[in-house]
């Protein structure tokens, strides 16, 4: 390679100092193998995906030319990095489509595009991934954000609930996790999504149900990557459950006309969750069908945590280093990486505001057999059905069943359409702005409208048939009102009972409770979830996660 010689006539006027170091690492995805640094290059701050892509393409092409089988490319979830990954996919030699049958009838199959690179005979697929532990922190930060309120059918998940938990004496959280918080704290994110937090929330009552489900579904998504022991089929079920849950949540917000910018996780967070869900399926297909011998899949090693560890070690040697410092410290870094890998022990899960906590070297409890058994396409389809059922149950627990969600919205005609023919009927489907959705004045104006109509009816002379029709509507209103009163009576009666003393209840009430609780969890009755909110226990799925089958993330902490 020839380089230009720096002389007094060189175009130095155009030279800019570097402000960031871009590092590429290769990881052999087996325990206790140190990462290999491929290349390091300084970059300025303001770079676009188009500026960064040539270097990545150079590296990928160079590795493929040397017959090195790269199976995944991981980066952080920033917009620029995701665009770089998109450009990489666009440069694929060919693409195959992985299809997973969508368990719901009205939806098309899930199509996952798997890009291949290289030329015959060495053509390899590469799955684009993002960092799972970064995503956990993003889910936490979305929950804590004041700019959005995560809204579910019968409840919300928000920061004040977590704050209440942190200030309780029996809480698994520390106060520092919610006050003067470190948004990049891996340990705090793990504590929030751990089993102990779910258990605390479960013991406090139904007002936390939305938060419990949020923590469970997305904590488990990260666990699909970080867990050391569960089977690959189970991991697929977990990632697809998160995928379907997000799909239902989006569908609900769309139907309820809540703006996603205020009531849903950020678009970046949703995009990373989608990449991780689909990326895991891609990895399984690559390791099963395109890697000789189908070695075990250790997904926690396929992320950017490796590089962050290298950066952390660099800063231990020189806190604020230049590009030359990095090159000078390379031999020492080589030793320190190996030292960290071979002497790795569990990190301190109770550390507060401590930023990154590297766990990829933690190899306790690895079940290599479970990680080597790959599901067939049929197993994946079956896992998708189970995942959809679980997502449906969880969303039903939050207040809207799948049937309601997918039903075409029927809107009753306005009251004015019965009587005043010449009056135009207000279009209830028309779009309203955000403030209209939450505004109380809207209800008051509706009430005024109804009152005006009733007044006009009383004043005007109407025929007997119209009078009968009007009476029928009055009776229907009274019947609905009585039904609602009865429902509220039963609800308040149930609220007075303690969960442990169901036995002394009168036989008739006991029958009612037995009938309700013996129903399958997948709720289809529209009013049932709301009605049961004060008595119905957490879904079995979450209870299992809390009590018996503790996922890795949850069991890692000795709280």
């Amino acid at each position: 390679m020839t380089h230009e010689v720096l002389s007094q006539h060189s175009p130095c006027l155009l030279m800019h100092a570097l402000e960031q170091l871009r590092l590429w690492c290769l990881q052999v995805p087996l325990p206790k193998v140190a990462p290999l640094i491929v290349a390091a290059k300084g970059i300025p701050n303001d770079v676009s995906a188009d500026d960064l892509f040539p270097d990545l393409w150079h590296i990928v092409s160079g590795l493929i030319d040397r017959k090195i089988q790269v199976t995944s490319y991981a980066a952080d979830g920033s917009n620029v990095e995701r665009n770089v990954q998109r450009l990489l996919e666009q440069h694929a030699t060919k693409t195959i489509t992985i299809r997973i049958k969508h368990p719901s009838d009205g939806h098309p199959d899930i199509r996952i595009e798997l890009p291949f690179f290289g030329s015959h005979p060495f053509v390899i697929p590469i799955a684009n991934l993002q960092d799972s532990k970064h995503l956990l922190k993003t889910f936490r930060n979305n929950l804590y954000s004041g700019a959005r309120l995560l809204t579910f059918p019968n409840g919300v998940a928000m920061f004040s609930q977590v704050r209440e938990m942190a200030f309780d004496t029996e809480s698994p959280l520390f106060r520092r996790d919610v006050e003067k918080l470190d948004r990049q704290d891996d340990n705090a994110a793990t504590r929030l999504f751990c089993a102990a937090s779910l258990q605390w929330l479960e013991s406090r009552g139904p007002e936390f149900s939305a938060l419990v489900v949020y923590l469970f579904v997305f904590g488990d998504l990260i666990d699909a990557y970080q867990n050391r022991s569960i089977s690959i089929t189970e991991r697929i079920q977990i990632v697809l459950r998160a995928y379907f849950f997000l799909e239902m949540w989006e569908e609900f917000l769309l139907k309820a006309r809540y703006p996603k910018s205020k009531h849903f996780i950020s678009s970046q967070c949703a995009a990373i969750a989608h990449t991780l869900s689909m990326g895991f399926v891609k990895l399984v297909v690559i390791y099963r069908d395109h890697v000789e011998g189908s070695p075990p899949l250790l997904p926690w090693l396929l992320c950017t945590e490796v590089i962050e560890h290298v950066f952390g070690l660099c800063r231990q040697i020189v806190k604020d280093f230049t590009e030359k410092d990095f090159r000078d410290m390379e031999p020492k870094l080589f030793i320190k990486i190996r030292q960290a890998i071979f002497t790795a022990h569990a990190t301190d899960g109770k550390a507060r505001a401590s930023g990154y906590s590297h766990t990829y070297t933690d190899g306790r409890g690895i079940n290599m057999t479970a990680l080597s058994l790959y599901p067939t396409n049929r197993d994946i389809d079956e896992a998708a059905v189970r995942a959809y059922g679980e997502a449906e149950s969880l969303f039903g627990f939050l207040g809207v069943s799948s049937r309601e969600l997918h039903a075409s919205s029927t809107i009753l005609p306005g009251i004015q359409s019965w009587v005043l023919d010449d009056h135009s009927v207000p279009d209830l489907v028309e779009d309203t702005n955000d403030s209209d959705l939450l505004c109380d004045e809207e209800d008051e104006s509706d009430y005024d409208d109804y009152q005006a109509v009733i007044d006009s009816l009383e004043d005007s002379s109407i025929g007997i048939s119209q009078q009968k029709k009007l009476n029928r509507y009055r009776y229907a209103t009274i019947a609905l009102s009585v039904d609602e009163q009865m429902e509220m009576c039963v609800k308040s009666f149930l609220m007075t009972l303690d969960s442990d003393d169901i036995h002394p209840i009168e036989p008739s009430s006991q029958n009612l409770i037995t009938t309700i609780t013996s129903r399958p969890f997948r709720m289809t009755q529209p009013a049932l979830p709301k009605f049961l909110h004060n008595r119905f226990p957490l879904p079995t799925l979450i209870n299992q996660a809390i009590r018996s089958n503790l996922p890795y993330l949850m069991s890692r902490l000795s709280i």
Binding site: H3, A17, V70, I307
Partner: protein, 108 residues
């Protein structure tokens, strides 16, 4: 210890350090030698299975420095945007870096 080293291939801390300093360094930028080094290291591990590539950035202290590259046999200017410049002589380097012609990028 000497007795042991007569019969076993015993490495000491000092000799390990010497061995490490003689190991090839990371090339400047991305070159053909970059891939050769990776291939050699994978051969040392006797591994030909799948590997995972990852990439990330970190903040750097902006500065222009001369760096001696053993493999290319010469001093190179590192710390600027673009391909490395070979430094013809130290006086030129001093003149160029101390003059106001070098513009450091500001954070956006």
């Amino acid at each position: 210890m000497r007795l042991i080293s007569e019969f076993f291939n015993k490495s000491f801390q000092f000799s390990l350090r010497i061995q490490r300093t003689r190991q090839p360094r990371l090339p400047i930028g991305i070159q053909e030698r970059t891939f050769q080094l990776i291939e050699d290291r994978l051969k040392l591990l006797d591994y030909d299975g799948p590997v995972a590539l990852s990439c990330d950035d970190t903040k750097l202290l902006p500065s222009f420095r001369p760096y001696y590259d053993h493999d290319l046999g010469g001093y190179y200017l590192v710390g600027h945007v673009g391909e490395p410049y070979q430094i013809a002589d130290i006086e030129t380097f001093r003149e160029v870096t101390t003059s106001h012609s070098l513009e450091k990028a500001t954070k956006v």
